[in-house]
Symmetry: C2
Subunit: 433 residues, 2 copies
Amino acid sequence: MPTTESWLLIDPASHFSLANIPFGIISTPTDSTPRPAVAIGNYALDLHLFAREGGFALLSPFESHAQSVFNARTLNAFAALGRSVHKEVRKYLQEIFCRETPYPSVLKTNEELKKKALIPLKDVQNHLPLEIGDYTDFFAGKNHAYNIGVLFRGKNNALQPNYVHLPVAYHGRASSVVVSGTALRRPSGQILFDTKTNPAAPKFSPCMKLDIELELGMFICKGNDLGSPIDVNSAEQNIFGYVLMNDWSARDIQMFEYIPLGPFNAKNFGTTISPWVVLADTLAPFATHGIKNDTTLQKYLQEERTDSALDINLQVDITTSKGYTTTITRTNAKNLVWSWPQMIAHHSISGCSLRTGDLFGSGTISGTEPKSQGSLLEQIQGGTVPMKLEGDEERKFLEDGDTITIKGWSGEEGSLVGFGECSGTILPAVRFD
Amino acid sequence: MPTTESWLLIDPASHFSLANIPFGIISTPTDSTPRPAVAIGNYALDLHLFAREGGFALLSPFESHAQSVFNARTLNAFAALGRSVHKEVRKYLQEIFCRETPYPSVLKTNEELKKKALIPLKDVQNHLPLEIGDYTDFFAGKNHAYNIGVLFRGKNNALQPNYVHLPVAYHGRASSVVVSGTALRRPSGQILFDTKTNPAAPKFSPCMKLDIELELGMFICKGNDLGSPIDVNSAEQNIFGYVLMNDWSARDIQMFEYIPLGPFNAKNFGTTISPWVVLADTLAPFATHGIKNDTTLQKYLQEERTDSALDINLQVDITTSKGYTTTITRTNAKNLVWSWPQMIAHHSISGCSLRTGDLFGSGTISGTEPKSQGSLLEQIQGGTVPMKLEGDEERKFLEDGDTITIKGWSGEEGSLVGFGECSGTILPAVRFD
């Protein structure tokens, strides 16, 4: 099936080609109830309406589920049906939109349903695609871990001894995960401004070192019971799909708070994800090799396949309040030393239960080339070298009014598998008078 | 109102006196649907049934809410109504059970309803009282933090520089919080057995240093919007109530994994809480002073009141598989250097949103006397001195088949405000062959 060939006009540059079919949650000015949808070209197909109007009548046995899972405010119920169902539903929707669709009466020639169920993306409000149970942020971007380690501890001790043995991670804050487009306030907290002369006298201040972290996010579709670890070689069945993620970070707040229990307020003021979940099956053709790990791994981390990284182009743009946009990062999601199945296996090896809707972050993704780093801290070499931006501006860390937009895509024009955007603007800090 | 005087026979030693009225979620052999209840004496009052049969008809305007909030599988909807409602409902239920109740026909003389709605606690299955959004574990037990610090870094550097400036915390794992009575498997993970000769060669093994952490848990009733911190002096209004907590800890897994992002698999295999939530109002008469903090605090942590710690007696018992029980810890919940309002204020100062059902742990509560420490690690002085137990046994860390039971109570016999039990048994590790 030539995936560009839809009866719907799809721009070849669209992230939402017929090869994609990502799932999300939308509302519209005329119907504020959040409901499931897929993105295709410049449109969202309202799945609640499509299901209600019999759109899945030809897809038994899913048809019996469709009414309930798409009559929901999140994708959790759909995700929980498992990967074989996701695959089947995506394939069916691809057939529906195919120029030579075997089922033209379902949508192609059904003018009334097209008019109601196909909504221009510009008229759509996106919501969080799933209700997130727990959010876990990994640290699998080895180049980033190394770069940060060099800045703090020097080249010889850049990576901690555990780094190559297990996917280091911490539990993040699910309540503060927001969908692309949500503005975030600059956080305030306790900061050491003068670490040399007065190492234990923090001041309360708005964050002065507000940073980004370019990450890939992954949603769990199927969980495990407490006490029953997930095998690394079956863990792909637990993956619903992927989103882009910006794990905003307050470096100065983190510096004072993080020993010994890890980052807390430095991260929990907001984490932004892109709205459309690209299904695991959709990205299967883009499997590739990640960063090689020379360590002999414990058996529970040994994967049979060696290509479970994902070849996804990533780009970070900054738009300042003056309106100039500069691309500051170009890299690829394959720059991870741990795969998603390894992260799942490690997370559950203790017996920890995962649940439908749990969100994993990859950790910051950085390449090794100039301008391929996923955080400002790396790009400005710890704060010593400002970035030059369009409009004759420069930046070390983020200023109020700055907008960060992450884009990600795999494949070629005409059949792009893209994520759309993960975007957020920084508002001034709350005033405490 | 002499709180012992109920028409219901209540043992003076009962944790669930008329002065208490804690809320929980129950099911029964004849009705497996989880539903809200309060505990009183040896009984649970089924609030779903009580509300359906008009039990709250005399309590307007709550009556209009009662049908829906008690026709739920968790206490979230009830909690979200706010503290003035919790207070009013508790007071009304106290009046219903009072010997000289002004409303005898509601329950006291209503034999049919009594028979249906009052269920012996021995016939009740408890469930998690709330659906937990996020779980955050603090580190406010200063004596514990100091004792652990001495073991790892010596007396002079026992507390990290940030410790007295802010309530250190990490995000925990909500999915693995279980209700008292749930058995937990011993976790497995990567452990350094020989740190001196081979510091970077972990082995995969069942945890050999399985420990407990005696904590108090707190549930949030009312949250805040992202970007809108909660004022420390109004934060009591965000507290629904309290439970006992055992934050089981795999010390050896933690030792290898926790730098730089904090504990992960060492904690996420299970956290046990007691089933009955003792309301914030119920514990108000037991306000007391916590551990004094001599540091000049940032304004956002400065409380007007100085007695916002809680005077709750705490006890930890171990029962081995041979059936002998030994009390290993007696202490008090006032052994915290940060109050719950301070924890709330700090958690949200970055803008982090709290939600109804979020759970906070206090951190391990230890006294300064012998046998008052809330972890085994402290009691065995880092692993050097075994504890002597009944039945001629001894322990360093937990063995398979050991049961840990935490009890907690305030007040005097006849009007005890108690939590019942927080109990869990360790099952053998999963076998990986």
